[in-house]
C-alpha cells in the first residue's frame, strides 16, 4: 500500500485509512499478485480477481489521489462543500423517463449517478452548465441534459435560502467571471498573425511557436504602453506647444542612428516637454481659468500608470503560467510519460511528423538502452572527469563575462567627461561595443558547452540561459551606474546641459544597435551557418532554431525600452516597429534555414521561465531604475518639465492646484491622497489578483 500512496498529489487528504481495512486490502493485493505471477491464467484471473475486492478496498482506492484529482475536482467544485465528495463520481447522462425502466438496473447499481444528477439540480443553472462543460460526454448528450435541467427548473420553485453574504459573493464572482470572459473574448478576437503562427507550429512544433507567442505578447504590452503615453503625453504637448528650435539644424542621415542633431529637440526626448510659467501652480490669480494642460503631472502620471498597469498584467500572466508547471520532474521512470504525452498534435506537415517519429524512436531506444545496460556514469573516474570539465567550462564563461564587463566599464569611463565626446560618430562606439559583445558571447558559450555533456537537454538550456543572463545583467548594471551616476551627477567636469535627453538618446542608440545587430546576425549568421554546415561540413540536418538565445535578446531589448520610457517617451513606439520587423525576419529565417529540433522542447516550463524572467529581473529592474531616478536624482535645471524641482516626485504635489482652480475635481485630490499610500494600492492589486487566480 505504501508504494501506491506515496505520491505527491494528495489533494483530498481527508480520508483516513482505517486500521481494520488495511489487513483486508493487503490480502486482496496478495491475491492479485499471486494470480498475476501465474502466467497461464494472467488475463482471465486478473479481471475477476479485481471484482473480489471488498467495499473497504473500493473506498480506499477511490480516495487515491489519481482518482480524486480528476473527476471530483472537475465535476464538483471544491468550494461547494457538497457531501458527494467522499466517493468517486461518475459523470451523469440523460435520464429521460422512458429510458429509466430499460436501464434502471444499471442505474441502481450506480447510485452515485443519481446523486450527481440531484446535486446538479440544486446548483444554479450557470454553475450546472459550467460543470457540464467539463464532462467528457458528447455535445448531443450534454445539450439534452441541459435541456432537461432547464425544463425541471422552470417547473420547480427554488426554495433555496441563501444568506446575503453568499448572494453577494456569488454576484461578485459572476461579474468578475463575466468581465474576464469579456476581456478574453476581446483578446482572442484580435488574432494577430494567426495563420503564420499556425504554419510555424505545423512545421516546427510547439517550441518555435513559444518564441513567436512571446514576441506577440511583448508587442501587445508595448502597444498598450505607447497608446497611453501617446494619447496623454505626446499628443497634447505637440498640439499645445509646437516648438520651433532657435537654430535650425540640418537633417543629416547620421541623425537617425545617433538621435542627435535635429532629433534632440523633437518630441522623442525629454527636453521637448517644456514647462512654461503659466502652468505654475502658484502663479496667476484665482480668477484665471486653469485651462492649460499640466504637462508635469501628465508626464509623471502617464508613465506611472502605464508601468503600473504593465506590472499588474505581467504578474497575472506569471501566476497563470506558474500554476501549470509546478511539477517535480523525475530523472528516471519516464518511459510511460514519454510514450503517453510527448506527441505534438500541432505538427501538420508530413516531413515534420516523420521527423518527430524518428526522433521519438531514437529517444526511446536510448532510454531503453540506458535502463537496461546499467549506469555507465557510475564509474568514479568518468564522474570526476565530467566534473572537472564542468568546472573548466564555468570558469571560462565567468572569466569571459568578467572581461566583457571590465571592457564596458573602462570604455564608458572615457565618456564621462563631456568634452571627450567629439563628433557624433563617437557616440555610437559604446553601443556598438556592448551589442557586439552581447551577440558574440552566446556563440562562445555554445562552444564552451560542447565540452560538457549534460544528461538532460533542459539542464543544458538552463545553464546556457544563466550564463547569457549573467552577461546581460552585468553589462546593464554597469551602464545604469554610468547613466544614473556619472552622467546625472558628475563629480568632476562640466555637467551636461540636459542629461535626461542625453540618456534618452543613449538608450535609443542602444535599441537601434540591438535591432541592427539582430538583423545582421539573422541574415548573415543563420544563413551563412546553414550554408556552412550543409556545404562544407556536409551535415544532413539543418541547424535548429536557438529559442533560448532569441528570447533572451527580446527580454534585453524590452528592459532597455522600459527603462528608457522616462527619458524618451516615444521609445515604446519604436519598440513596436522593431518587434514587427523582427517577427517577419525571424519567421523568414526559420523557414529558410532551420528545422525542428531533435529533442522535445518543454514548452510549458520554458514559457513560465521566460515570463518570470521578463517580470522579475527585466521589468522590476527597469522600474527600480526609474523609481530611483524620479526620487533621488535632480532633474536638469534648463530643460524638461521638471526643472526647478529637486526631484521629479515633487511634481506630484501639483494635484492640489487642480482642485483649487477646478472645484469639480476635488474627488481627484481625495483619490490622490488615498493612492499616495502604496500599501493601499498593493492591497487592492493583491486582492484582485487572488480573485482572478482563484477563478482559474
Amino acid at each position: 500500500m505504501a508504494c501506491i500512496v506515496n505520491n505527491g498529489l494528495e489533494l483530498h487528504s481527508e480520508h483516513s485509512e482505517d486500521s481494520e481495512t488495511s489487513s483486508d486490502t493487503d490480502d486482496d493485493f496478495e491475491t492479485v499478485e499471486m494470480h498475476v505471477m501465474d502466467n497461464n491464467k494472467t488475463e482471465l484471473t486478473s479481471a475477476f480477481t479485481r471484482n473480489k475486492w471488498s467495499a473497504a478496498t473500493q473506498k480506499v482506492l477511490s480516495s487515491m489521489p489519481s482518482r480524486s484529482v480528476g473527476w471530483s475536482a472537475a465535476v464538483l467544485s471544491q468550494r461547494d462543500h457538497s457531501s458527494v465528495r467522499d466517493s468517486s463520481q461518475v459523470p451523469g447522462t440523460s435520464n429521460r423517463d422512458y429510458d429509466m425502466e430499460s436501464h434502471e438496473g444499471l442505474i441502481h447499481e450506480v447510485p452515485r449517478m443519481r446523486h450527481l444528477l440531484r446535486t446538479l439540480q440544486t446548483l444554479p443553472l450557470d454553475e450546472c452548465v459550467r460543470k457540464l462543460r467539463m464532462m467528457p460526454m458528447s455535445l448531443t448528450e450534454k445539450s439534452e441534459l441541459r435541456a432537461l435541467l432547464c425544463r425541471e427548473r422552470k417547473g420547480q420553485i427554488l426554495s433555496v435560502e441563501t444568506s446575503r453574504n453568499s448572494h453577494f459573493q456569488v454576484r461578485l464572482r459572476k461579474s468578475l467571471r463575466g468581465a474576464r470572459q469579456g476581456v478574453h473574448s476581446l483578446l482572442t478576437s484580435v488574432q494577430l498573425w494567426h495563420g503564420t503562427l499556425k504554419k510555424v507550429s505545423g512545421r516546427f512544433g510547439t517550441g518555435a511557436l513559444s518564441y513567436f507567442l512571446f514576441l506577440r505578447t511583448l508587442l501587445l504590452y508595448n502597444i498598450f504602453l505607447s497608446l497611453i503615453i501617446n494619447v496623454f503625453l505626446v499628443l497634447p504637448e505637440v498640439i499645445h506647444h509646437p516648438h520651433h528650435s532657435a537654430n535650425k539644424k540640418i537633417f543629416m542621415g547620421l541623425n537617425i542612428f545617433t538621435g542627435t542633431g535635429i532629433l534632440t529637440d523633437s518630441s522623442m526626448f525629454y527636453g521637448y516637454y517644456n514647462y512654461t510659467e503659466e502652468n505654475n501652480c502658484s502663479s496667476g490669480n484665482k480668477t484665471k481659468p486653469y485651462n492649460s494642460y499640466n504637462i508635469r503631472l501628465a508626464y509623471l502620471l502617464t508613465i506611472g500608470t502605464g508601468l503600473f498597469a504593465t506590472c499588474i498584467m505581467l504578474v497575472y500572466s506569471v501566476f497563470r503560467t506558474l500554476g501549470g508547471s509546478f511539477h517535480m520532474y523525475k530523472s528516471h521512470g519516464n518511459l510511460a510519460l514519454k510514450v503517453f504525452s510527448c506527441w505534438d498534435f500541432k505538427l501538420s506537415k508530413m516531413t515534420s511528423v516523420r521527423m518527430q517519429s524518428e526522433n521519438l524512436c531514437t529517444q526511446l531506444k536510448e532510454m531503453l538502452y540506458e535502463l537496461h545496460s546499467g549506469n555507465p556514469k557510475g564509474k568514479l573516474k568518468t564522474r570526476l572527469i565530467w566534473m572537472a570539465l564542468c568546472f573548466t567550462a564555468w570558469g571560462i564563461s565567468l572569466t569571459c563575462i568578467f572581461c566583457c564587463v571590465l571592457t564596458v566599464y573602462v570604455f564608458s569611463e572615457d565618456r564621462e567627461n563631456v568634452s571627450n565626446i567629439g563628433s557624433d560618430e563617437n557616440l555610437l562606439a559604446l553601443p556598438l561595443l556592448v551589442c557586439g559583445l552581447n551577440h558574440l558571447m552566446p556563440s562562445v558559450f555554445n562552444m564552451v558547452a560542447w565540452m560538457e555533456s549534460y544528461d538532460s537537454l533542459s539542464l543544458c538550456i538552463y545553464v546556457s540561459i544563466i550564463r547569457n543572463l549573467f552577461l546581460k545583467v552585468s553589462t546593464l548594471a554597469v551602464l545604469c551606474y554610468r547613466w544614473m551616476g556619472s552622467t546625472a551627477t558628475p563629480k568632476n567636469g562640466t555637467k551636461l546641459e540636459c542629461w535626461e535627453t542625453f540618456v534618452g538618446q543613449d538608450l535609443y542608440r542602444f535599441l537601434l544597435m540591438d535591432l541592427i545587430f539582430g538583423v545582421l546576425h539573422t541574415i548573415f549568421g543563420d544563413f551563412l551557418w546553414r550554408v556552412f554546415t550543409q556545404g562544407v561540413l556536409r551535415r544532413k540536418r539543418k541547424p535548429a532554431f536557438d529559442i533560448a538565445r532569441n528570447v533572451l535578446e527580446l527580454i534585453y531589448g524590452q528592459t532597455l525600452a522600459w527603462f528608457g520610457v522616462l527619458f524618451s517617451p516615444l521609445l515604446p513606439t519604436f519598440q513596436i516597429v522593431k518587434l514587427i520587423l523582427l517577427f517577419y525576419l525571424k519567421r523568414a529565417s526559420l523557414m529558410m534555414n532551420c528545422q525542428a529540433p531533435r529533442k522535445a522542447w518543454r514548452a510549458t516550463q520554458m514559457t513560465t521561465l521566460f515570463i518570470s524572467l521578463l517580470c522579475f529581473p527585466s521589468f522590476l529592474g527597469a522600474a527600480a531604475g526609474i523609481t530611483y531616478t524620479m526620487w533621488r536624482l535632480e532633474p536638469s535645471s534648463t530643460c524638461g518639465p521638471f526643472r526647478m524641482l529637486s526631484s521629479m516626485f515633487q511634481a506630484g504635489r501639483e494635484w492640489r492646484c487642480l482642485t483649487t482652480f477646478n472645484p469639480s475635481l476635488t474627488w481627484l485630490s481625495w483619490a490622490y491622497t488615498v493612492l499616495e499610500n502604496p500599501l493601499f494600492l498593493f492591497t487592492i492589486a493583491g486582492v484582485f489578483l487572488l480573485e482572478m487566480v482563484r477563478e482559474e
Binding site: 462543460r133 467528457p136 448531443t140 499556425k198
Partner: protein, 236 residues
Amino acid sequence: MQIRLYRNCQVEQEGEVWFALVKFVSARNKDESNQRLCRTNRTNNTMGATASKLPKDQLSEYQELTFLTKQEILLAHKRFNELLEREDRQQIGGSRVPMNKILTLPELKSNPFRRRICQVFSTSDLRDGSLSFEDFLDLLSAFSDSATLEIKSHYAFRIFDFDDDGTLDTGDLEKLVNCLTGEMDNTRLTSEEMKQLINNILEESDIDKDGTVNLSEFQHVISRSPDFVSSFKIVL
C-alpha cells in the same frame, strides 16, 4: 452482450463505470439523438435559418457547453460546411461527413492518430468514424486551448485505446508505440525492444498490477507532465 457483462461484474473503478455507462447509454440513445437532431433541424429550417448560418441560440449553447470561443465555432462551422456535399449543406445539423473526407483536413492529414480520433469522437451508429457537426465541435473542444487536463487526458486515453475495451493492454500499447514511431522500417522498434518497452511502461504506470493501464492510472501518469496540455492541441 456488453450490458450483460457489466451488470454481472462489480465494476468499482470510476473510470470503468463511466466508460460502461457512456457506451451503454450512447448505444441506446443514438437513434433518439439522431431523430432529435433531425427534429431541431426541421424547426431550424422552418424558422428560416439559412444554410450557411448558425442560429444565435445554438451558437450560444455551443459556447456554453464547449471550450471553444465564438470565432472558433464559426470557423468550425465554415470548415465543416466545406467538407459537406453540396446537397447536404442545407441541413448541417443532421448530416454526417464520412471519415475519409474528415481526414483530408490539413490539421489531421498527417496525424498518425487520425483514424482513432475520428472513431472516438464519432457518435454514428455504424461505427464508421463519420462525424456530425456536433461531433466535430466536440473534437475541437477537446483539443482546444482552454480544455482542462481532465478532458484532454480522458480523450487521449480513449484515442490510445485501440480496441475500445476501456483499458490499455499490451496490444493497445504496442499499436500506440508503432503509431508514434512511424511506418518506416528504420524507425520501428524490434520485438525485443517493444517487449522491454511495454514491460517498463506497465511497471511505471500500472498501480494495481493487473497488466493493463486503466483511465485513472493513465491520468495519474499524465498529471506529471506539464507539457501534455500544450502538445495535445489542434487549432483550425
